[in-house]
C-alpha cells in the first residue's frame, strides 16, 4: 500500500511560504538592527571620549608649578594682588587665561598664596589692608588676613595654593579654578561659637 499524505493545499503552501518568508526577514531585520547597534556604539564611544577630553589625564592633572615673582618683590607683612597666566591655555582664551591671586608674606621665606575665588561660590574677593579683611561682593563672605573665615556663608577659609621657593623665585602649584572639590577638602568646619580662643584675635590674623 502506498499511503501518501495529501499534498498541502495551495492555501497551506502559501501560509508555509509566508511563515518562512517572514521568519527569514525577521531574522535578517534583527541582524540589521544588531549591526546598527554595533555601529552606533562604535560611533558613540569615540564621541564620549571626545567629550571627556576636557578631563585632565590621570598622571599630573591640571596643576603645574608656576613662578609668580621674585621673593624680594613681596614686602613682609603685606598682601599683594598678583596675576599669572594659566599654564594650560589655548591661544583664543583672551583675557580669561589670566588668573589673579593674593600673595601674603609673613616672614623671610614664609608665604601664603590665596586664590581670588571666594570659597562660597567663587566670586572674586577684595583685600582691604586698612581693616585687614577680604570681602566678597556676591554673598557677603568675609575672611581674616590669614584667609580664615570671619563671617558670611563660606564653608571654609580662602583656598590657598601650595608654594615653594627656588632660586629666589616664588612658585605656586596652580592651574585650575578652585572649587570645593577641585582644590582642597573642607579644611575648616564652621564652628557656631568661638572655642577657647577668640577668632580673629590670634597673632596669625594680624596682617
Amino acid at each position: 500500500m502506498d499511503e501518501k499524505l495529501p499534498p498541502p493545499s495551495p492555501q497551506e503552501q502559501e501560509e508555509q511560504l509566508h511563515h518562512e518568508r517572514v521568519s527569514r526577514r525577521t531574522f535578517l531585520m534583527k541582524i540589521a538592527i544588531a549591526l546598527d547597534v554595533l555601529v552606533t556604539i562604535g560611533v558613540a564611544v569615540p564621541l564620549g571620549w571626545y567629550l571627556l577630553g576636557a578631563l585632565p589625564s590621570r598622571k599630573n592633572g591640571y596643576l603645574r608649578w608656576i613662578p609668580i615673582g621674585n621673593v624680594d618683590d613681596f614686602k613682609p607683612d603685606e598682601t599683594t594682588l598678583i596675576t599669572f597666566e594659566n599654564p594650560i591655555r589655548s591661544p583664543w582664551d583672551g583675557y580669561t587665561a589670566k588668573v589673579p591671586a593674593y600673595v601674603r608674606r609673613q616672614g623671610a621665606d614664609k608665604f601664603t598664596v590665596f586664590a581670588i575665588n571666594c570659597a562660597h561660590l567663587g566670586c572674586p574677593v577684595r583685600w582691604f589692608p586698612e581693616s585687614q579683611l577680604f570681602m566678597c561682593p556676591c554673598h557677603g563672605g568675609i575672611y581674616y588676613a590669614d584667609g580664615s573665615r570671619a563671617s558670611g556663608p563660606p564653608p571654609r577659609g580662602l583656598f590657598t595654593y601650595p608654594t615653594k621657593i627656588e632660586n629666589g623665585k616664588l612658585l605656586i602649584d596652580a592651574g585650575q579654578v578652585p572649587t570645593l572639590s577641585t582644590q582642597a577638602k573642607l579644611i575648616q568646619e564652621i564652628s557656631p561659637c568661638p572655642q577657647n580662643e577668640n577668632p580673629g584675635t590670634g597673632a596669625s590674623t594680624i596682617g
Partner: protein
C-alpha cells in the same frame, strides 16, 4: 468641451497638495472643536510661548551671523554688533528682551495650567513634557547669559561650577566637563555656545512640537467647573460631549485671541528693545579686574538671594538636593494628583502653593536687587559721616569717627541711611548697647561680624567706642548698665526700698 482651466495659483496649490497631502491634517487641526469656554483670554499663554520661541530662533540666527563664539573675541564682537553693525544693537535687544518675555510667559502659562488643573488625566504627559520645556527655557536663559561673555557672565559660570564643585565624589570631573578645561576660558564658551545654539534649542523645538501635538490630540483643557470631577472611566466621554455639543471650531473661534495676544507680546518685546536697548555687554571678562560686583540676570536673582541667605551648614544639601526634588515633584504631580477636582475654587493647597511661591520669588528677587548681605565695597571712602554726628564733638570722638571710616566699618554699617547693610545701622547703637557690650562686640565680633581685636589698638578701640556712644536718637536714653548704677548708688538698695519702687 475641455474643463474650465483653473487659475495658476490654484493649479500650483493642487500640484503641491497632490504631493505633500497636508491639507487633511491641517484642516483637522484647525477645525477641531474646542469647548466654548476655552476660547478665553486665559488660554493664550501657551501659543504666546511658542511664538516667542520662534521669535528667539529667528533673532538668534541673525545674531549668529556676526557673533564670534571665542573667549578672546566674543565680547568685542558684541561691542561691534552694538556700535558698528546697522541695527545690530536692535537685534541684540530683541533677542535679550525676547528671552525675558519668554521666561515670564512660560512661567505664567505654567501657573495657569496648574491652577486650571490641566495636568490631570489624560494630559499628564503634556504637563511632564511642559516641565522639561520650562527647564530647557531656563537653561536657554542661563547659557544665553554666558553668550554675553562679560564680567557677570564670567563670574556667573564661576558660581555655577562652584555649586557643581560641591557634588560629592564626582565634583571635580563635573567642574572640568562643564568648563571644558581647567579654567573658565575658550573651552567653556565654545561648549555653552553649542548648548545654546544647537543642543537646547533643538530639544526645545522637538519637545514643543510633541507638547502641541498632544494638546491637539487630547483636546484643550476644558474650563474647570467646581464639582465637575475628573474620573478616568468617564472623562474622555464627558469631554467629547462638551466639545461636540457646545464646542466651536478652533479656527477661527479661539485662535483669534491667540493671534492677538502673540502680536501684543512680540510688539511689547519690540517696544522694550527700542526703549531699553540691549543688555550690555558689561565689563570685559578679565578675571584680573576684581573690582566687580557680579549679579545674575533678572530671572536668576532669586537664586542669588537664596544662596546668600541660607545658613552655611544647610547650603550644600539645599543646593544639591532641593532642585532635583523640586523637578521630581513637578513631574510626579500629575501622576499623584491625576484625577479629581480641577477648579481652583476647590483646590486651596494649589492656590496657596502658587501664592507662597510667588511671594517668595518676589521677596527674594526684590532683596537681590539691592543685596543687603553684601558689604558695600566703597562705602568707607565714598559715604561721609553725616555732619550732625561730628559737630561739637570732642577730639577723641572725632578720632573714633576716623577709625570708624578708615577701618571700613561703614562697608557693613549704615549711618544716616547711607552705607553697607550687612550689619545693623548704627544710628542709635548707643541706645541698644552699653559701653562694655560695644567693646566686646568690636574686639571679638560675633553674630556675623568679624573680630577686630587683632586689628585695632586699644586707643583706637577706645576712640571708636567713644564715637559709637554718641550715636543715639535725641529722645532715646543711652543704654545703661545696671551693675554700674548699683555701684554708683553704693550698693543694692534696701529690700524695703525696692518694694517701694526704687530703681536699681
Amino acid at each position: 468641451m475641455p474643463a474650465e482651466r483653473k487659475p495658476w495659483y490654484r493649479r500650483l496649490y493642487d500640484w503641491l497638495e497632490r504631493r505633500v497631502q497636508l491639507e487633511g491634517p491641517i484642516k483637522d487641526a484647525a477645525l477641531h472643536k474646542v469647548p466654548r469656554k476655552t476660547a478665553s483670554w486665559w488660554y493664550v499663554f501657551g501659543s504666546a510661548s511658542l511664538s516667542l520661541l520662534i521669535f528667539q530662533v529667528i533673532t538668534g540666527i541673525f545674531l549668529a551671523i556676526v557673533y564670534v563664539p571665542s573667549a578672546s573675541e566674543a565680547w568685542t564682537s558684541l561691542q561691534f554688533l552694538n556700535h558698528h553693525v546697522a541695527l545690530g544693537w536692535f537685534i541684540r535687544a530683541l533677542h535679550g528682551w525676547g528671552s525675558n518675555f519668554m521666561v515670564s510667559v512660560v512661567l505664567i502659562h505654567m501657573t495657569q495650567v496648574f491652577l486650571f488643573g490641566a495636568y490631570k488625566f489624560p494630559r499628564e504627559l503634556t504637563w511632564i513634557v511642559g516641565v522639561f520645556l520650562l527647564l530647557l527655557t531656563l537653561a536657554m536663559a542661563f547659557t544665553g547669559q554666558v553668550m554675553r561673555f562679560d564680567q557677570d557672565a564670567f563670574w556667573g559660570i564661576g558660581i555655577g561650577v562652584s555649586m557643581m564643585g560641591r557634588v560629592p565624589l564626582i565634583g571635580a570631573p563635573l567642574v572640568h566637563l562643564i568648563l571644558g578645561g581647567p579654567i573658565i576660558g575658550a573651552g567653556t564658551l565654545s561648549r555653552f555656545f553649542a548648548l545654546h545654539v544647537f543642543v537646547i534649542p533643538g530639544t526645545l523645538l522637538g519637545l514643543a512640537g510633541l507638547h502641541v501635538w498632544m494638546v491637539l490630540k487630547l483636546g484643550i483643557n476644558e474650563w474647570p467647573m467646581p464639582g465637575r470631577l475628573v474620573r478616568r472611566e468617564t472623562y474622555i466621554q464627558e469631554y467629547n460631549k462638551l466639545a461636540q455639543r457646545d464646542g466651536i471650531p478652533f479656527v477661527p473661534g479661539a485662535i483669534w485671541k491667540d493671534l492677538v495676544f502673540s502680536a501684543g507680546v512680540i510688539a511689547a518685546v519690540v517696544v522694550c528693545a527700542c526703549i531699553f536697548g540691549p543688555n550690555g555687554p558689561g565689563g570685559i571678562p578679565d578675571p584680573t579686574i576684581i573690582a566687580t560686583v557680579p549679579k545674575p540676570d533678572f530671572y536668576f536673582l532669586w537664586i542669588y538671594a537664596a544662596l546668600a541667605l541660607l545658613p552655611p551648614t544647610w547650603e550644600t544639601p539645599v543646593m544639591l538636593v532641593v532642585p532635583p526634588l523640586a523637578i521630581l515633584a513637578m513631574i510626579a504631580l500629575p501622576l499623584v494628583a491625576g484625577v479629581g477636582e480641577k477648579s481652583w475654587h476647590r483646590r486651596p493647597v494649589a492656590v496657596l502653593s502658587v501664592a507662597v511661591l510667588a511671594v517668595s520669588w518676589g521677596v527674594l528677587t526684590h532683596l537681590a536687587t539691592y543685596s543687603p548681605w553684601s558689604p558695600k565695597m566703597n562705602a568707607w571712602s565714598s559715604d561721609p559721616i553725616p555732619s550732625w554726628y561730628i559737630q561739637k564733638r570732642t577730639p577723641l570722638v572725632l578720632e573714633g569717627a576716623n577709625v570708624f571710616q578708615y577701618k571700613q566699618c561703614r562697608n557693613c554699617h549704615a549711618l544716616g541711611g547711607v552705607g553697607g547693610r550687612r550689619g545693623p545701622a548704627l544710628d542709635d547703637i548707643a541706645s541698644r548697647m552699653t559701653q562694655d557690650q560695644l567693646i566686646r562686640q568690636v574686639e571679638q565680633g560675633g553674630g556675623n561680624m568679624p573680630a577686630f581685636g587683632a586689628n585695632l589698638s586699644p586707643p583706637q578701640i577706645t576712640a571708636l567706642v567713644k564715637f559709637l556712644e554718641t550715636l543715639h536718637a535725641p529722645d532715646r536714653p543711652l543704654s545703661g548698665d545696671a551693675a554700674h548704677r548699683v555701684v554708683q548708688k553704693n550698693g543694692i538698695p534696701k529690700h524695703s526700698d525696692i518694694e517701694q519702687g526704687a530703681q536699681y
